[in-house]
């Protein structure tokens, strides 16, 4: 039981990951798909951020006079900052595509789009 609760950050990650993944797969609304994709990516961000936690660690900024302080591991944070930026870029591109899809098809529903394609 202790183990299960002690790993709570992973449970959050798993729940978010599966929720996001489910939305991406099951929803036919393109905007909802993007939202699901964002939730999915966020779960990975949390996975990385929780990885950098060190017990009793502080922010990794060197201050004079406290050379033996314990620091959290900054590397996963830096990595995930990059991944967040990538995520923002992906979302912007996806939304831009959806705007153009809406202009071209008049709908953002995946099934309606494939229907109107099949009519051609």
């Amino acid at each position: 039981m202790n183990d299960l609760l002690g790993l709570y950050s992973y449970w959050i990650v798993i729940v978010l990951m599966m929720a996001g993944f489910y939305v991406v797969i099951s929803s036919s609304n393109l905007i909802k798909k993007i939202a699901g994709l964002n939730i999915f990516q966020t779960s990975v961000f949390i996975l990385y951020i929780s990885m950098g936690k060190v017990d009793g660690g502080t922010a990794p900024i060197v201050v004079e006079g406290s050379s033996n302080a314990i620091y959290s591991n900054p590397l996963p944070h830096v990595l995930i900052l990059t991944a967040i930026v990538v995520g923002v870029a992906t979302t912007a591109l996806a939304l831009a595509l959806v705007v153009r899809i809406k202009e071209a098809y008049g709908t953002v529903d995946e099934e309606a789009i494939s229907e109107s394609d099949n009519e051609l």
Binding site: V44, L47, L79, L97, A104, E110
Partner: protein, 493 residues
């Protein structure tokens, strides 16, 4: 400190800086000229790197002077220099073709953005190939993917938009899977450098985290690779993208993903772990064989030429994956040789289709009836490429299939031989359909149709020539490939 020591970084930085320069220039002609210059310089650098690695082995370059494994390391060995050569060759030949094709297919106001995105896509693929850092690879993967989504969406048909969106969703899922895998590996080892990971992983091999990481990485990369059954994004993306983009992506994007698969399976995890402990190879071989059969089968029934070629690509990826998964030097050589051969064949075929689109504005098989007389050179290029796809002797396709059959017989996996033969027979069927329509049916299109312009034909034919050259004298590709294969498996060639 001469310039030669900086080739690994220059290979990536020159196209990277040319992309914003294109945004500044804005004039399509100037952008094209700059891009062409960059492609030629990149090709030169890649050639130099191939030569350097064959002379002195592995080249390592520390970004910012921070030594590996702390800093980001760029690492060029036989395999990466080989893939660099593939990408730069395709890039340098697709671009001259792109000038006319882009002017025809893309709004003039968007053209500078096309070249910027083209350069970024190219940068990303070169970066993936050259980096020795697992996370840096993710960043380059996303650079190339994001720009290729944008490139696909530039297609004239509105279906290009939904194809690009589908590609984006699948591609992002794949990249995020890769990211999860790398994160899990970092948790277990505390390093991101590939060589360092390879050293530290054996100690923690037994842990479930590492096994999960392997699973996430394999699935993520297979999505990018469009390995059956994760290929659903590929046919639409290739079909509706502008011709130049189809030619570039078909030649390089999946090849780079195959390279990542090789790196992860053999460099990071090591052949013993992947092929011995885990059933990765068995799964990949079965999926690869399914890809060959189903991809070729579906290709036979396509009415749209680009879609036909896209499904044929899925089958060809199957050949590559089967070769890789055999895990022997011959098998890997077969996979790697086919990497090169399929890149040039598919790019040449997509460029021939681009010529047809330029004149005919259609890619439906019914519309090319009798075109063999109207566009003899284009159709001849198409047939030459198709013959190579089938694997007729004296073409590049034959060499790779020959190696693959040899490797399969070595291991006693005769079902692979049967599948390769069946795949080739089905290739005969779908190529023959096109040949029959183009040459043996009366022409009934508009009277004004004539041969495609030379700027489009020459690059196409150059690729076809390379294809025949490699088919007759395979020592260049097979030589580097077998060396790279030996290096990956850690045996002396």
């Amino acid at each position: 400190m001469t310039l030669a020591t900086h080739y690994p970084i220059l290979q990536v930085v020159i196209p990277l800086l040319a992309a914003p320069a294109c945004v500044l220039l804005k004039n399509p002609r100037a952008c094209w000229l700059l891009t062409m210059l960059v492609m030629l310089v990149s090709l030169g650098i890649a050639g130099q790197l191939v030569w350097q690695t064959s002379e002195s082995g592995v080249i390592s370059y520390a970004i910012g002077g921070w030594a590996a494994p702390w800093g980001i390391e760029y690492r060029v060995d036989a395999l990466s220099s080989y893939v660099l050569l593939i990408i730069t060759t395709i890039g340098a030949l697709v671009l001259p073709f792109a000038a006319r094709s882009v002017a025809d297919e893309i709004n003039i106001k968007m053209q500078y953005l096309f070249y910027a995105a083209f350069l970024l896509c190219y940068t990303g693929m070169l970066g993936i190939t050259i980096t020795g850092d697992a996370f840096n690879l993710f960043v380059f993967l996303e650079i190339s993917s994001l720009s290729s989504y944008a490139l696909v969406s530039l297609g004239k048909d509105r279906r290009a938009l939904s194809a690009a969106f589908q590609y984006l969703i699948m591609g992002t899922l794949g990249a995020t899977f890769y990211l999860i895998g790398i994160g899990l590996l970092y948790m277990m080892t505390g390093t991101l450098n590939m060589a360092d990971l390879a050293e530290r992983l054996p100690a923690v091999n037994e842990s479930r985290t590492v096994l999960t990481a392997l699973a996430f990485l394999t699935v993520g990369i297979s999505l990018k690779l469009a390995l059956f059954p994760l290929h659903s994004w590929l046919p639409n993306a290739y079909t509706y993208a502008p011709s130049a983009v189809s030619a570039l992506l078909a030649g390089t994007a999946t090849k780079v993903a195959a390279y990542v698969l090789l790196r992860v399976l053999f460099t990071i995890f090591g052949v013993d772990f992947v092929l011995g402990t885990m059933p990765v190879a068995e799964i990949l071989i079965i999926l690869g064989m399914a890809a060959i059969l189903i991809g070729s089968m579906v290709a036979i029934f396509q009415e749209n030429l680009k879609r036909l070629l896209a499904y044929s690509s899925i089958a060809q990826i199957g050949y590559i994956v089967v070769g890789i998964s055999l895990g022997t030097v011959t098998g890997l050589t077969a996979g790697l040789v086919h990497l090169f051969n399929h890149a040039i064949i598919k790019s040449a075929l997509f460029m021939a289709i681009g010529c047809i689109i330029y004149r005919l504005n259609s890619v439906l098989i019914g519309d090319i009836a009798g075109l063999g007389k109207r566009m003899p050179w284009t159709m001849a290029a198409f047939v030459a490429g198709g013959v190579s796809l089938i694997g007729v002797p004296l073409t590049a396709g034959f060499i790779s299939k020959w190696y693959l059959v040899l490797a399969a017989l070595d291991k006693g996996y005769w079902p692979i031989v049967v599948v390769v033969l069946a795949g080739s027979l089905m290739a005969v069927v779908y190529i023959w359909r096109i040949v029959e329509t183009a040459y043996f049916k009366p022409y009934n299109g508009p009277a004004s149709i004539s041969e495609a312009p030379l700027t489009m034909l020459i690059p196409t034919w150059l690729l076809i020539m390379v294809n025949f050259y490699v088919g007759i004298d395979s020592s260049l590709t097979a030589g580097i490939a077998s060396k790279a294969a030996a290096q990956l498996l850690g045996v002396s060639p």
